[in-house]
Amino acid sequence: MITRLKMLSIVSLFSLLLSACQLTDTADTHFSIQSVETDIHNQPIKVDIGLTLKFSAEVEEALNKGVTIPLKVIARIVRDNQLSLVVEDRGYRWEIHYLPMSRHYLLTDMQSKEQTTWARLRHALGSLDRIMVELPPVELEPGNYRLEVKVFLDRRRLPAPMRLPALVSSGWKLETNWYQWPFQISN
């Protein structure tokens, strides 16, 4: 028989875990998705995402102090009403790095390893105002689906000492809401 104290301990543990999850699930206005365009009938499915990205002061300070800022895009298709994941792509990542000698910002596409330099941060972020994500090929059966897209600053890839402060600081919670676009596949 589980004693009351042990039950209380278990409940406390779950509460803490839920609180931790809550910390990572807060949307921010610095990042927003302006538009999402796709053609679900053509494989592989390509998702054209229109973005507005702006760093907070904390992030800009860290960037200018040599901290590489990682950005990430998640695009996925889930089966409606069943909450089952059909396909997902988590491979689209970018990193922005400041070069003090040339005073340029280096934007690296982590998938293609392509690097571009920008004299201004807004130009570097502006270059990401429209990105194309290609989902892995998938055959969608007839039914209701949702296309979900989210862009965020990947705090788990920050330098280790910053991860905990970044988790609790609102200045580091840079992420869009989940953009959801329902669609239907008919026979």
Binding site: T117, A119, R156, A160, R163
Partner: protein, 736 residues
Amino acid sequence: MAVSDLKLRRLLFKTLPVIAALVLLLGALFLIADVKEGSDRFARHYVWVLVSTIAALVVMLASIASRLIKLYRQVRQEKPGARLTATMVRVFLVLTIPPALIVYLFSIQFLNETINGWFDVKVEAALSDSIELGQRFLDMQTLQARNQVRQLADDIDIKPGNQLATQLLRRVSAAGPVELSIMDYRGRAFRTANIDPNELVPSRPSDFALLQAGERGTFAAAEPAPNGSMQVRVLTQLPEQREGINYLIQALYPLPQNFTELAGNIQSEYERFQRVDYLRDSLKQSFILILTLVLMISILLTILAAMNAARRMVRPISELAEATESVAGGDLERVIVSKQHDELGFLIHSFNLMTTELKEASRQNEEARALLRRQREYLRTVLSRLSAGVLSFDGDGYLTTSNESSSTILGIPLHQFEGKSLAEISTQQALIKPLTTRIQTAIDLHESSWREELKLTREGSPLVLMCRGSLLPGYDDGEPGSGSSAGLVVVFDDVTVLDQAQREAAWAEAARRMAHEVKNPLTPIRLSAERLQYKLANKLDEKDQAMLQRATDTIVNQVDALKDLVNDFGDYAQQTATNVGLSQGLAKLNLDALIREVAGMYADPERPQLLDLQLAGGAQPLSGNTGQLRQLLHNLIRNASDAVSGQANAKIEIHSEIDSSQTPNSLVLKILDNGHGLDQAISERLFQPGTTSKKDGSGLGLVISHKIVSQHKGSIQLRNREQGGAVVEVRFPLEV
């Protein structure tokens, strides 16, 4: 099923939490090592490890609090082993926590100093200067390139037909611009020349560069080149238009390779320094946080381990304590199961061995006690059958055993005095004081054996005891007969009857001899005196005749008195002689009638109030000897009459009644007088021959009366009355 449930619960609530805590501790330690490196090995689990560690801390704290509360309650309830457990936990904590805290504080201090040591001000200044130097060099290179490109813009003629491509090619060189392009403000080049003939596509400037060039007429900036080196990009508006459109000339100047490498190194180190400087506080906080978590988990694990260790160590001791209490309470069946092979295991084994031996000893003791009980019962039976009285005392003079005969002989319920001392017994029962005094003397003097005749008085009658005493052997050295005495045993017989019989026999023999020797010469003496009177009376003168007459009268009177005395002695001797044959003369008789007959002889017509008869004892016939009972009545009434003689208000009351309060019933005869009462000097030996208060008494009347009553199995008592006078009470048992 219960065992598997127990194992499952132990796995869920003991083993797994401990393993989880250890894993978390390990994860936290890895995080400490990983923090400085900044690698992504545990990056994905960082938050979860921290949150889980904090959750584990909370659970462990709750578990410890629960155990502490339980331990506190056990201490309050004084459960076996609780205090020892608390003490051991306290000792464990005192031994472990202070060193851990000291290490922790030193670690924090060391951490702070180490991290602060990374940021040398001189290094920072040198790096900043180096970066600034590089930036100035780039600025100079940029300015120089911009001037050159401005000159080029002035020299180049972009009008159609002027060999624009040739002009561009002529101006590219390894020392100058490696690429020259003519492009519009959207960055679309329509002529380009590169020192590398394989590079056909010109490097497109950024929108910002195009915008700057459009707004300000020129743009120049050093930037990273695609090949990892650095280059200076210059955009300058051409002064001439071509076909009405303004164009830009773009020139790319590569920086020296050695500069690029040096600048890269400086930049890399500067970035690292800046980043670490920026992360310094976070780094410290992370280190301290993780160190604190590690310390807390370690301490809490230590506390839990200490509690478990203390509980495990104390458990056998608690079991031993409980088992000892059980054994002390008489439960010898308690066995402790232990698989330990250490000193505690040896102790438990010894305890089990001890209880086994105690059980065997208890069994043997029980058998011995049963045997002792049987022997005591046997002894009690034997003693109860003995006619002699038997008393036993311990070494301190306390009565331990008495048989029924001892109570019967002494007339005292001695079993009520078992466990009491001689002093207490003698205080409460003065009757047996001579006996208790003699026994106390024997104990005090350690007389091994003694024999003595003791005379006591019971209910006014003498009680003669023949006592024999022996000391019981002691057991001081475990061997009988050694050490001090274990007590005393006294055996006594009632020899009163034997003593009285001997006395009576002696008196009877004396009486018989007296009667024979004295009575025979009395008659000749009387006859001789009468003859002298007869022969000499006429021959003497008147004076001598008178003297002769007085002398002969005196002789005759004294002879008569002697004859009466001799007759009394004869009667006494006869009573003693007829003792054995009394049963042959017994007959049913009415005692009241006999009383009237005898009392009538003592009636005085002139004093009718002298005798008062209240007779009610004739309801039941008495079995007795008429002659002896008549003599008894004569003796008693005569004594009463003698006691009241000469008194004006003399009165003798004779009562008879049946006492049915006892079985068998008794016929009670009481003769009361209002005379002078009994002489206290002789009250204790009234029934001994020769005891009398009369001037001319023989001292045999009461002796004979007592003899008669005894032969009729009755009892006789004499005592004084409160209002004066005496009363004699005779009790005859009536047959059922």
